[in-house]
C-alpha cells in the first residue's frame, strides 16, 4: 500500500514563482507551464490539439501574413501592457491591407527569474485582447534565456488574414489628389510610455491608445472599397509613415498643422520634452489615402466608429518627384516633415 498519488502534479506557483531555465527546457516544467497558463488562457480547438502547428482550413482568396516583435519597456503602462499590445500590433499590421485577421501565433522569450505572476498577468491580458478582437492565438512557442540575456519578456506575434474581394490596399497606391485622413489623436502611446521612464517620469492622465483596428478597417472598406493606402503610424509616428508611403508611391504630400488632432496633454508633454507629436508613436491609429471624391463619406463612416471618433482630414497627396512631405504651419509658413533621425525613444512597442 502506497500513499503516493501518481496523478498529482503540484500546480505552478503563479503567486510567488519565477521563470527558471526548466520552463524552456522541453521537459515536464515546460509542458506544465504551457498547460496551466497558455492553454488555459488562450483556450481554443487548435491549441487543445497540442500539436507543434495549427492545422487550419484555407479559405479561398488572397491571404496576408504579418509578424511583429514586442519589446516595450515598461511592460505595463497606462492603457495596456505588452500582452494586449502584441495582439493589437499584429492584428493592425494584417488589417492595414484591408484584410480580416483570422489567426495569430505567439512566441515568448522569457528571461530567467521573471515573476510568474507578471507573466500570468500578461498572458491573461493577451487572451482578453485576442477574444475581444475575435482572433484566436492558435499556435505558439516559449523559450527561456539566462538572467541578464533578456529583459523580462519579449513577445513575437504573427497573424494571417483574408483580403475581401475588390479590396486592393497597399503602400504604393497613393495617387496625387488623394485625401489624407487620420483616425484620431496623435502621440498618445508614446507619451504614455515616456511618462513612466525613470529619467523622464512625469504625471499625466494620457493612456496608450493601443487597440485592434480591424473592425474600423472593415467599416471603412465596406463604405469605400477603393481606399488606396492604409497604415498604422507606430514607431516614428505619422511623419515616418507618410514619408514611407510617399517613397513607396512615388509622390509627395502636404499636410496642415491646424488640422492635426493632438490632445492638449500630449502637446504639452511634447513641448517640455522637446518632441514633435508628428514623430511620437501610436498603437491604435491609422492613416488612410483615399480618392478625394470619397473622402467625406469615409470620414463620416470613421467618425461613426468608436475608434475613429476624432478622425480628421489632414492633407493631400501631390505630385513630387523628390517625395517630400510638407507641412503648412499654423503660423503661416511651410516646412518639410522629414524622416525621423536616429531613435526618439527606444523600446516603445
Amino acid at each position: 500500500m502506497t500513499n503516493v498519488r501518481s496523478d498529482y502534479v503540484r500546480p505552478v506557483d503563479f503567486k510567488h514563482g519565477h521563470v527558471d531555465m526548466t520552463h524552456g527546457g522541453g521537459g515536464r516544467a515546460m509542458t506544465q507551464l504551457i498547460a496551466e497558463l497558455f492553454l488555459r488562457e488562450f483556450d481554443n480547438e487548435w491549441l487543445r490539439a497540442q500539436n507543434d502547428s495549427a492545422c487550419i482550413a484555407m479559405p479561398a482568396g488572397r491571404m496576408v501574413i504579418a509578424t511583429d516583435s514586442h519589446v516595450v519597456s515598461p511592460l505595463f503602462f497606462p492603457g495596456g501592457d505588452i500582452g494586449s499590445l502584441s495582439v493589437h500590433g499584429t492584428i493592425n499590421d494584417v488589417a492595414m491591407s484591408g484584410a480580416k485577421p483570422l489567426y495569430l501565433a505567439a512566441t515568448f522569450v522569457l528571461e530567467e527569474g521573471f515573476p510568474l505572476a507578471d507573466l500570468k498577468r500578461i498572458v491573461v491580458s493577451m487572451a482578453a485582447a485576442s477574444r475581444a478582437a475575435g482572433v484566436p492565438i492558435v499556435t505558439g512557442d516559449t523559450k527561456v534565456v539566462e538572467k541578464g540575456k533578456g529583459d523580462g519578456v519579449f513577445i513575437t506575434t504573427t497573424g494571417v488574414g483574408l483580403v475581401p474581394d475588390g479590396v486592393d490596399i497597399a503602400g504604393d497606391k497613393a495617387q496625387p489628389g488623394d485625401a489624407i485622413i487620420v483616425s484620431g489623436s496623435l502621440g498618445d502611446h508614446g507619451v504614455a510610455i515616456m511618462s513612466l521612464r525613470e529619467n523622464l517620469s512625469f504625471e499625466t492622465t494620457i493612456e496608450s491608445d493601443t487597440a485592434a483596428l480591424h473592425n474600423l478597417v472593415a467599416t471603412m472598406v465596406a463604405v469605400v472599397p477603393c481606399i488606396h493606402c492604409l497604415r498604422d503610424p507606430t514607431r516614428g509616428g505619422l511623419a515616418t509613415t507618410l514619408n514611407e508611403i510617399a517613397l513607396q508611391s512615388g509622390c509627395g504630400m502636404v499636410i496642415r498643422e491646424r488640422d492635426l488632432p493632438v490632445k492638449a496633454q500630449v502637446s504639452a508633454a511634447c513641448e517640455f520634452l522637446g518632441l514633435d507629436p508628428l514623430y511620437v508613436a501610436n498603437e491604435g491609429k491609422l492613416v488612410a489615402m483615399v480618392p478625394p471624391a470619397h473622402a467625406q463619406r469615409l470620414l463620416a463612416a470613421m467618425r461613426a466608429h468608436p475608434l475613429g471618433r476624432d478622425a480628421a482630414l489632414i492633407g493631400e497627396v501631390r505630385e513630387d518627384p523628390l517625395h517630400f512631405v510638407q507641412l503648412d504651419t499654423s503660423f503661416g509658413g511651410r516646412r518639410n516633415v522629414d524622416w525621423l533621425t536616429g531613435e526618439q525613444l527606444p523600446r516603445i512597442c
Binding site: 513641448e271 523628390l322 504651419t329 516646412r335 518639410n336
Partner: protein, 382 residues
Amino acid sequence: MKYIDEFRDGALARRLAAAIAREAQPTRHYSLMEFCGGHTHAISRYGITDLLPANVRMIHGPGCPVCVLPVGRIDSAIELASRPGLILATYADTMRVPASKGSSLLKAKAHGADIRMVYSSADAIRIARDNPQRDVVFFAIGFETTTPPTAVAILEAAALGLGNFSVFCNHVLTPAAIANILESPEVRDLGTVPLDGFIGPAHVSTVIGSQPYEYFAEEYGRPVVIAGFEPLDVMQAILMLVRQLNEGRAEVENEFTRAVTREGNGKAKALVAEAFELRRSFEWRGLGEVPYSALRIKEKYRRFDAEARYGLEYRSVADNKACECGAILRGVKKPTDCKVFGTVCTPENPIGSCMVSSEGACAAHYSYGRFKDVPVIAVAAP
C-alpha cells in the same frame, strides 16, 4: 496650450509680416544673425522665412552648444567613457557628434561604454548616488543656460561628499562668441559677410541679462534685440531690428521682457561665480581658439573636475576637410554652399556638427527647409 499657442498665432504672424514688408525699405538689404540655435530651430520649424520679404535675410549664428564643440572635446569624452567601470552621463544631443576616426559617443556605447543620457545635471548626481562603487562623470556642455545647473551639481556633490562624481566642463560664453564673429576678418575688414544686427539669445539672456550686449551695440554699432524662442517673438524682433536700422539706431532692445531683465538672474550668476572661473582660451568648432570664451571649475572644487582627476590632455583635431561647418557657424556660408550637405553629410551620417543637433543650421535646413532648394517643389504656401 495656454501661454504657448498665443505666441504661435497665425493671424498675428500675418500682421507682423505685413508690418515688416511695409517698413523694410526696398532699396536696402537687412542681414540679421540669430545667434541661438533655438531661434534657428524656430525659424525653420515654423517656416518664418516664408513670411519675410526677400531683402530681409536671416543668418544662422553659432549658438548651438553641440555644434561648437570641437572634435578634441568629444574625443576626451569618449576616452573617459571607455575607462573600465566609469559611467558617463550626458545630454542626448552629444551622442551623435562625430569624433576622430569615425567614432562618436553612440558608437562607443554600442562597443560597451556605459553612457547614460540624462535630462539634467540632477540626474547625473542621482546616478552617482545610486552607484557609489563606480566613478560617474557628467559631460557638461552648453552656454550660460546650462551652466548654473552644472554649478548646482558641483555644489551639491561637495555638500554630499560624493567622492565618485566629477564634471567634464565644456561650458562656453555667448558674449565672447559674438565678439569673435564681429572681429572676424570677413565681417570687419573684407565685408564679405554683411551683418546688420543680431537677434539676441532668449534663455541665455534670462541668466546674464541684457546688459552684456550693450557693448556690441555701442562698440560695433550693431543693434541687438533679445527675443524669446516662440515664432511670434522672432517676428517681433525682426520688425524691431528693421526699425532700428531704418532709424540709424544701434541699441539693445528687449522683446523678451516676460523673462529677461537688464541684470539677469543674480542667484544663477552667483552660483556660476562660486563654482567656475574663466579659461584662458578654449577651442570652438568653426571659430578656433577664442580667448576667455569658456569656463573651468575653480581650484576649490578641483576634486570634482574630471580634467584634473583623470589627467585629460586636450588634443586639437582638425575638422573633416570637406566640411564647411566652420564657415557656416561664422555666417560666412550657408548650408547649401557646402559640397557634402545632403549628400555625404546627412542627419543619419553627419560629417560636421551642424548636421547633428536639431538646432544646427545644417540639420534645421535639411530637416525642415531643403524642399525650398528645388524650384519645382518650392511652391509658396497659401
